[in-house]
Point group: C2
Chain length 149, copies 2
DNA sequence: TGCGTATTCATGTTGATACAACAATAGTTG
DNA sequence: CAACTATTGTTGTATCAACATGAATACGCA
């Protein structure tokens, strides 16, 4: 549906203002879709993101700062996110012996299992994004990257 | 900068996954920009959004449900958001005489003043989005609308 | 070595989000 | 009119985001 209908706004001042609102609105839409599908696994989208980051470096551990800088939303607190995941047994937390300030985080086999399960769904889920063509997806990515300049 | 650099991810599984991450990431970037510039006025981006919605209908009041359905993020709580704005004197809240369940919300002159001030900045602010051309902005809007189906 | 600074993470606090339950009023129907 | 249902907002609660501050360790240099 058009953004104008979705938020009952007849017109925007200019195309750039609409871009801003459209990105924020579409992001909220995506976030809600994602939160819904992850509810079955009892994890939040940001927790899921951290798990994926850790799978990306598996079996190597990452220090907390490395997790943070890979996160989509840098302002969420990696310490507490990781602690939530640890309590669920999905990640491991170890003080680095060589540098005792540092905490090494790695994904557990239970964490990997959850990701495997969601992978099976993910294709179906990305299907929801396939209202657009691959060429449009590429164009979207190009423009968003350029936007952030 | 490219998304890959921003979140240190070398590659995505496919263009659609990257679209999802890119929208979420760009939205977080935009939200932070917005929050920063609004800090000088002591309002949050969602409060700002409500003020703009009310200016859109000014001088007509809107009932709470109408505010909600125009909001970018439908899940934030309009009752409490409006109460915050009321305490700052930026909106008025009146029980509708014709239907006492209903609450009519309208923007005050003080609320309008704040928007006038931000308007003066807004052009400068939208300038940050002008890494892209108007044609690209239109294309971005088209694809985002299509994406949400 | 010892002192100042930088790095890395944790914690405290305030306000926002997510979701469910509740309350009050209005409309509807036998 | 009395009971039922729908509409419209409010409130409670747990969790999360945003931001500032604090604590422990490591590093650099006189």
């Amino acid at each position: 549906m058009s953004l104008e209908e979705d938020i009952k706004q007849e017109k925007f001042e200019n195309e750039f203002q609409k871009v801003a609102v459209n990105i924020l609105y579409t992001s909220s839409w995506l976030h809600n879709l994602n939160a819904d599908r992850l509810k079955a696994y009892d994890i939040t989208p940001e927790q899921f993101n951290v798990l994926r980051i850790l799978r990306g470096s598996h079996p190597k551990a990452l220090m907390l700062a490395d997790v943070t800088c890979r996160m989509i939303d840098k302002s969420s607190n990696a310490t507490r996110l990781v602690e939530k995941l640890r309590l669920k047994g999905l990640v491991r937390r170890e003080i680095c012996p060589g540098n005792r300030r540092q905490v090494d985080i790695s994904i557990t086999s239970k964490g990997l299992e959850i990701l495997t399960k969601t992978d099976n769904e993910s294709n179906a889920w990305f299907g929801k994004l396939k209202n657009i063509t691959k060429a449009e997806a590429q164009e979207l990515n190009r423009i968003l990257d350029k936007l952030r300049g």
